[in-house]
């Protein structure tokens, strides 16, 4: 039993990713979409907080949103995985529920 968490807001402007990281459980996955993809940037003020949970929680980033924003995948935290919309669908079906952090 595990949960897919989606987050869609920039973590620099909004506390949503922070709250999600504080509530997800080992074995869960966090998928960053829309403006939340910035949350996977290496070297940012959020990076340490995100990396602290990555041993037990898998981090995914929606590839289309990353490219739209001009962020090269090479600038992401090591271990963050890029997925397309098809991968998004797989994450939804592979986990028991989806929690959208709005």
């Amino acid at each position: 039993m595990s949960t897919l968490h989606t987050v869609n807001k920039s973590p620099f402007g909004n506390a949503t990713l922070s709250s999600c990281l504080g509530h997800c459980l080992p074995g869960d996955a966090v998928l960053l979409i829309e403006d939340a993809v910035y949350g996977a940037l290496e070297g940012s003020a959020m990076a340490d907080q995100v990396k602290a949970r990555m041993g037990e929680v898998a981090l995914y980033v929606l590839d289309g949103d990353l490219k739209a924003r001009g962020i090269d995948a090479g600038k992401l935290i090591s271990g963050a995985k890029c997925v397309g919309y098809d991968g998004f669908v797989d994450l939804v079906t592979e986990h028991d529920r989806t929690q959208s952090w709005l």
Partner: protein, 135 residues
Amino acid sequence: MSDIKKFLYVNRKPPYGTIYALESLEVVLIGAAFEQDVSLAFLDDGVFQLTRGQNTDAIGVKNFSPTFRALGDYEVTKLYVERESLEERGLTEGDLQEITYEDEDDDWEEKPSIRVVSRAEMAGIMADQDVVLSF
């Protein structure tokens, strides 16, 4: 899949600045007729929805906070409020409305609907649901 699903309504936004809190409550009221296992979670700024003494006269917007006290009549009796969210905002449980329900399994005794839980407990409640609706 069992006939009854566990529904969790997650409330993370404050009231009045946006309509999410009010429209979330409208879903809960309608949803009550479907006889599912319903819980409400209040965390982050969502805890502000439950403050006592709300008076919206000056802003010209409808005060919907009394509706929370009617939830018991709809058999919505589990309102989980996160302790850490209260503390970060300088609030205590005493700043919240009293919301109660009559427990049909216990000779209709009046019991509190608000259950203050830790962040870890809240995470466990979220992970124990079939459907999570976020507002």
